[in-house]
Symmetry: C2
Subunit: 417 residues, 2 copies
């Protein structure tokens, strides 16, 4: 079965807002074995909307829309679809009573304008909305299905799971989608692509999406199949061969974030960690602690922007800063070693660098970052030169630091050399 998704709302045609409901809907539909062939965004102009729904019904067996079910003049999805399908709209007394009751619960009288939300096209199934006042609608016409959902994500998602998913599941698709989620660190997108591209022709039935996300590169091999066993076997094979091609740059085959993997590795090694950051300003600590349960292995961190605090918080000797500069491998080593000693952590990490846009010099341009790691055998450091704006430089610095910690535990012969 093929589907088209239509997002209704003139705010989605501004530079400020993007339709993200379609990502949720696509994931759900794919899981049911339904492919999404087309997505559209339209405003509230009736002609535009009507044209979108008409073309969608020409192309797809299932049309799912979000938005435009509210009570105002701008909410025209219900009317537009009813007219397009030649169905009369009639007030459904049960819905009307429900909406009135909803307002009464909040201590308000229902504005008359909301009565519009109780209009139901002939032959439509009403999809109750316990999370809002706009009910959804399920219509069938000439073997095609049209599902109208409300725009607010929590209402849309709740209604899909409770009302739409079970109805679509009953249709029983022949083919289903099988997928994997690989995460890579330390390689640019083009290099990842070059390494895995030869596999595409070996597995022509597998489509692979590559995604350069802020936290690293992601690979999503996907296959539509009638046979789960065959699909899983092919995916296992391609993942195995991708793993060989990517080596230790591959940090997860299950869609984990790097901070999740680092947390797991630390836990498995009964190790603790503490961090001392300068240019990343707390981002490394923030990433480590956005994993629930991180208090088991994360002891704490300091953000020492000023040179005074580098000495006061983690005992960086002022003479090192004077002779080598605050951005130097020596200071990275001292930060890592100092925070380790102060906290008693198994591993200390230190970051110092120039995130820009100001502060660069010819010898130490913006993007220069030194990262140190210290354990009981002493610290070591590496220097980097990251490209991009302040945000990107800080993100790459923390990503690299996390990856150094991961490799330190997983490939001790490299990391501890």
């Amino acid at each position: 079965m093929n589907a088209e998704i239509i997002a209704v709302g003139s705010e989605l045609l501004t530079p400020y807002r993007i339709d993200t409901n379609s990502l949720y809907l696509t994931a759900q539909l794919n899981q049911l074995g339904i492919r999404v062939l087309h997505k559209a965004v339209v405003g509230d102009a009736p002609d535009e909307m009507s044209s979108s729904f008409r073309h969608a019904l020409d192309r797809a067996e299932l049309v799912v829309s979000s938005g435009g079910l509210g009570p105002t003049d701008d909410d025209r999805t219900r009317q537009t679809v009813a007219e397009l399908l030649g169905r009369k709209l009639r007030t459904n007394d049960e819905i009307l009573a429900g909406i009135r009751e909803r307002f009464r619960r909040y201590g308000r009288a229902m504005p008359e304008i909301n009565a519009r939300q109780a209009l139901v096209p002939d032959g439509a199934i009403v999809l109750p909305n316990p999370r809002g006042s706009a009910p959804g609608l399920w219509l069938e016409t000439n073997g095609r299905i049209v599902v109208l959902l409300p725009g607010p994500p929590n209402e849309l998602e709740g209604m899909f799971e409770e009302q739409v998913q079970p109805r679509l599941a009953k249709l029983g698709q022949r083919e289903h989608l099988y997928t994997r989620d690989l995460r890579i660190s330390g390689l640019p997108e083009s290099e990842v692509e070059q390494r895995v591209r030869p596999l595409y022709s070996v597995y022509p039935d597998i489509d692979t999406t590559i995604l350069a996300a802020p936290g690293g590169i992601q690979l999503h091999p996907r296959i539509w199949s009638e046979d789960a066993r065959i699909a899983e076997k092919l995916l296992d094979e391609i993942v195995q061969r991708m793993a060989l091609a990517l080596g230790e740059h591959l940090y997860s085959t299950q869609g984990e974030s790097l901070e999740e993997v680092v947390g797991r590795v630390l836990t498995e090694n009964r190790a603790t960690i503490a961090v001392a950051e300068s240019c990343t300003g707390g981002m490394l600590a923030e990433r480590l602690t956005n994993i629930s349960g991180s208090s088991v292995y994360f002891l704490g961190g300091v953000v020492c922007y000023s040179n005074n605090l580098k000495a006061a918080f983690v005992d960086v000797p002022p003479e090192i800063i004077e002779t080598k500069g605050a951005v130097s491998s020596e200071v990275a080593l001292a930060l890592a070693d100092g925070i380790r000693r102060r906290t008693g952590a198994t591993v200390g990490v230190g970051i110092t660098g120039i995130a820009g846009p100001g502060g660069g010099t010819p010898e130490k341009p913006v993007g220069t970052v030194h990262i140190g790691i210290a354990d009981e055998r002493g610290p070591r450091a590496r220097g980097f030169h990251f490209l991009g704006d302040r945000d990107r430089i800080r993100l790459q610095a923390t990503q690299t630091a996390l990856d150094m910690v991961r490799r330190y535990f997983l490939f001790p012969s490299h990391g501890r050399a």
Copy 2:
């Protein structure tokens, strides 16, 4: 002039990737006085793509597409549009030589498959692409314009600015778009909506988009007008009335982030700040330091997850933790006061709370957060109960802390009371 944007790429029909080029294109087109009436996303199936372009040409005077100009079999935008418009494709020798030269510069021979990128439909204007191998195309047909741009954002944006913007600017639109960007903190979206909604009918020509972004609520009043003076005057008026309705919750009328505003306020007051965080794990320091130049006012911070470090880093008396618990207003006060004393900052901020999902109790459920602010006259604290997942709770905690700092300086009679 009305436009439709088409994003081409089967990866944009997966749950992993979203078309963000259209946000950039919408902003650019709006600035030129061109309205976007419809957006579409299609895969690489020729029928689907052809149908999308056909319908777009029926509806809009300008069709801008992104993607599908690469060298592979899946890149079919060029062919599809040429066929739809009945134009022959011919190899353009100059483009071909340019692509060959580009590969030579990288020390590689051009794969024969790339010759496809030198195909140009009859009558098309070639848009050079100095950032990649795929040139863009500008076609005119029956008074309509079709612009084909490459998918990678840096190539698309560079080509738009250099090749498309000047050509479209020459068309000279009668109406232009005028807009404002208001930022609000400390009110839920529904409350913001309720306060400003009465203004909508007073200014019927102004469309206002409300956006609940992670960093607070945004309001974007927009007006299309032939007269800049009238438009700006109306916007000034509605902004003034919105400001009255929103009171001190409005923190910017120029689209600044809260951390930018706090940075400005600290700089204006020649004040410095330091932070001691528990549940937010470094996010507050990270946000304060993602502003370039923040080293002027941000001295440093500590992330003290463990109770030991709360004592070691900022002298939180262990007996307070024992009697009141680590999540208490007393500990928030001690954190704020301790970090202020340790760093010598004008203002110290302390945050302690339960970000979840674990760690909640009936008396102190997940989402309980205490925030303290200390200055030379001593500390004060407020308790909050935030809803949502770990990420949302941490984000709201830092947002609230930043807002408390802003109000502390701007409305001393409230904050210091």
